[in-house]
């Protein structure tokens, strides 16, 4: 229900209590249905002999039965988030896993440990975990639960238990082989081709929008810089005049007000529109990846089917495998379709909210 959606306006120094947490998040369902609340805050840097890195506090409050306690506080670093994401991708190859902030943004030439960078990353990590929590399937993932609840040293040992490097490599090899074979593309159901085409256009448009938004931000910043000089000139002039002095001072103070309003507008852009556009750029990549993986799975099935038609022997063996794969493919397809619809709804809502927010900011600017 869109009317309940609130724009995410998180401030890291807020006291954490369930009711204030409700105000911080964007809801998909009725507030009463939510039973898992997560915050990411309090970045801290750690210096060891080998490296320097930042950890974030991950605070979880829940009423779910499968959790032993109702409150958890752990510290996680970026690597841990990466691990979680890859685990989720492995477990659910055709589900849309939310994007993580990038490792290091070259474009902005931002220092790895600059406050701005850390804050942007923190917000993105916060969104990442919350999107997972909101996902009807992912929210019950075992690794997710572990991520939220265990202490740091426990997590490292659990990580080591995961499928070994070799098996992961095997997956990659199969994936490459399948894509070389053009796997899955020929028997692809119509709906997924549509999705593919949509995604191509969508990602183009989103990246153009991102560029436009950045350009607008830049122009506004330059405008702001010039305006800063504009006001004081009037004050200077008023010093030489007597009759007109008050008028001039009045103009000067109005110009200063305009400056402040411009600053607010810029802040609105950088806090709302720019991060969302960026997130959806990442989403485009993710979705393309998901579609590819679906194709791969389909490809496996197809190749087996082909093999079967060629080798009449070992039919039973194959048919079992084929049956399994068919199930897999069907499951994958359905899951993806459902998730796709969900994603689109979310995207729509996000875009709506964010652009409405931009419009509101502009209104406020002009009213001031």
């Amino acid at each position: 229900d869109a009317s309940l959606a609130e724009v995410n306006s998180f401030s890291p120094s807020m006291p954490i209590s369930p009711s204030s947490m409700i105000n911080q998040y964007k809801f998909e369902d009725e507030p009463e249905q939510r039973d898992l609340f997560i915050t990411v805050d309090d970045p801290e840097s750690h210096i060891t002999a080998l490296e320097t890195f930042i950890t974030y506090r991950v605070l979880t409050k829940t009423s779910r039965g499968e959790f032993d306690s109702s409150e958890y506080e752990v510290r996680r670093r970026y690597q841990d988030f990466l691990w979680l994401k890859s685990r989720l991708e492995e477990a659910h190859p055709t589900l849309i896993i939310p994007p993580l902030p990038e490792k290091f943004i070259m474009k902005g030439m931002v220092e790895r440990f600059s406050e701005e960078f850390i804050e942007t990353r923190r917000k993105a990590l916060h969104k990442f975990l919350n999107r997972i929590a909101d996902h009807p399937t992912l929210t019950f993932n075992e690794d997710f639960k572990i991520f939220l609840t265990v202490q740091a040293w426990e997590l490292s040992s659990h990580k080591k238990q995961g499928p070994g490097l070799l098996s992961r490599m095997g997956q990659t090899v199969r994936a490459v082989a399948s894509s070389v074979r053009g796997g899955g593309a020929k028997n692809r159901p119509e709906v997924f081709t549509e999705m593919n085409n949509y995604m191509e256009t969508f990602s183009q448009k989103i990246s153009v929008l991102d560029k436009i938004a950045h350009r607008i931000y830049k122009e506004e910043r330059e405008y702001f810089n010039e305006m800063k000089e504009y006001g004081p000139i009037h004050t200077l002039w008023s010093a030489s005049e007597d009759d007109v002095a008050d008028c001039l001072k009045g103009v000067a103070s109005c110009i200063d007000k305009c400056c402040k309003a411009t600053e607010k507008r810029m802040a609105g852009l950088s806090e709302n529109l720019l991060p969302i556009l960026h997130e959806y750029i990442l989403y485009s990549e993710i979705l393309m990846g998901v579609l590819k993986r679906r194709d791969q799975i389909q490809g496996e099935l197809d190749s087996r089917v082909d093999a079967l038609t060629n080798k009449k022997t070992e039919k039973d063996l194959f048919s079992e495998e084929i049956g399994r794969l068919e199930d897999k493919v069907e499951y994958a397809n359905n899951v993806l379709k459902a998730d796709w619809d969900r994603w689109k709804q979310n995207m729509q809502r996000d875009m709506r909210a964010t652009f409405t927010n931009v419009a509101e900011n502009n209104l406020r600017y002009y009213e001031e």
Partner: protein, 402 residues
């Protein structure tokens, strides 16, 4: 004010035309000519309009007129002409003198100049000004025949006076400072305003890109499509609105520019005062020296060192007859000098009085005009914001329907 020409005659500079002709060196040149239309104002007529007289003038003739007025009425703050070349432009406007927008703004500026002269209680009565408005042929010759160029003070003389004058009227010194400040602050303001306009233009125009992308994006969306499409349309409207807004602002900039140039006119009056004062001081000093010389000759005492004194000491004194002759000459000169000094003093005081009266008139005009200009600027800004509110309200509605 009741007798001034502006009340009796409607003056407009109604058109501008490109012309080609041959200049003084017989080379072809292109210039712009402006049509001046005048019509007598009949206060009693009902529905009956006097015929319109018109003639064409080019910018250089306006310049000639103004130079004439400045020299002939040095105690008056003569209204300035609009700029010769486009200055303080922001990137969208061209600095080309032939650009139609520039020509149009100059036309308005020239009309403004004529109206100001015509409303000035002293200047409007000048015959040359009247013929400028009414007599196309032979006007240039008429102006030159007045010989005003000869009356003009040399720049060098004026500069010399500025540095050497000892006792100028304090009010003029203050006025000079004020006009320097005014000039510097207005030119700074205009420069920054041009930069601000540039940036604002950028902000608005980039939003136009939204329109195109939204439209392309809406093609692949089902539910969001309509909202996106109409929002995009509003973004286009937003981007286009900046052109009119900035054009209006140009007009405001021109109003400020007029007072930028007025600063120079103020300085000219101050310079004239300094020149007269210096002249006066020199004449007074000259008189004092002569009186002293006379006294020395009469009493035979040498109070000041002079080469003549030395040579006469070395080579013998002059004869009493020679001395008598010299004293007579000096006495004549002294008498002349005293009369001159008296008239110069009078001239100087008259000048100060009439100049200061005009300066007071100018101050009132300036305060009134600046207030009006600032108010109209504020109104412009408000209207810009109202337009912005409208566009973004519409856009917001479209977005919420997505």
């Amino acid at each position: 004010m009741e007798d001034c020409l502006a009340k009796k005659m409607e003056i407009t500079v109604s058109e501008a035309e490109k012309r080609t002709g041959r200049n003084a060196m017989n080379m072809q040149e292109t210039y712009t000519a402006y049509l001046i239309e005048t019509r007598a104002v009949e206060t009693q007529s009902e529905g009956q309009c006097a015929p319109v007289d018109s003639l064409w003038r080019r910018y250089s003739e306006f310049e000639l007129l103004r130079n004439y007025l400045s020299v002939t009425y040095p105690h008056i703050v003569v209204p300035p002409l609009p700029e010769k070349r486009a200055d303080f432009v922001w990137h969208k406007l061209s600095a080309d003198n032939m650009d139609p927008d520039f020509v149009e703004r100059r036309r308005i500026g020239l009309e403004n100049f004529l109206l100001r002269v015509a409303s000035h209680p002293v200047l409007c009565q000048d015959k040359i000004f009247y013929s400028f408005l009414t007599q196309e042929a032979g006007w240039k010759e008429m102006v030159n025949e007045t010989g005003f160029q000869l009356k003009a003070d040399s720049r060098l003389k004026a500069l010399n006076a500025t540095f050497r004058v000892k006792n100028p009227d304090k009010r003029f010194t203050e006025l000079k400072h004020y006009s320097d400040e005014l000039q510097s602050v207005i030119s700074h303001l205009l420069r920054v305003r041009a930069r601000v306009a540039d940036r604002l233009y950028g902000v608005y125009k980039v939003h136009g890109n939204y329109g195109r992308v939204f439209s392309e994006w809406s093609a692949i969306e089902k539910e969001m499509g309509d909202g996106l499409q109409s929002a995009g349309h509003h973004m286009d409207v937003y981007a286009a609105s900046i052109d009119d807004i900035l054009e209006e602002e140009e007009h405001y900039a021109d109003q400020l520019k007029e007072y930028l140039f007025y600063a120079e006119a103020l300085r000219a009056v101050c310079r004239k005062h300094e020149l007269m004062q210096y002249d006066l001081e020199m004449a007074a000093q000259d008189l004092t020296t002569k009186k002293q010389q006379c006294e020395e000759l009469a009493t035979g005492t040498v109070r000041t060192f002079s080469l003549k004194g030395m040579t006469s000491k070395l080579f013998g004194q002059e004869t009493p007859e020679q001395r008598e002759a010299k004293i007579k000459v000096l006495e004549e000169q002294i008498q002349e000098g005293e009369e001159q000094l008296k008239s110069k003093n009078l001239e100087g005081r008259d000048f100060v009085k009439s100049a200061w009266a005009d300066i007071e008139r100018f101050k009132e005009q300036k305060n009134h005009d600046l207030k009006e200009a600032l108010i109209s600027y504020a109104v412009m800004q408000i209207s810009m914001c109202k337009k912005g509110i409208q566009v973004w309200t519409n856009a917001k509605e479209c977005f919420s329907k997505m």
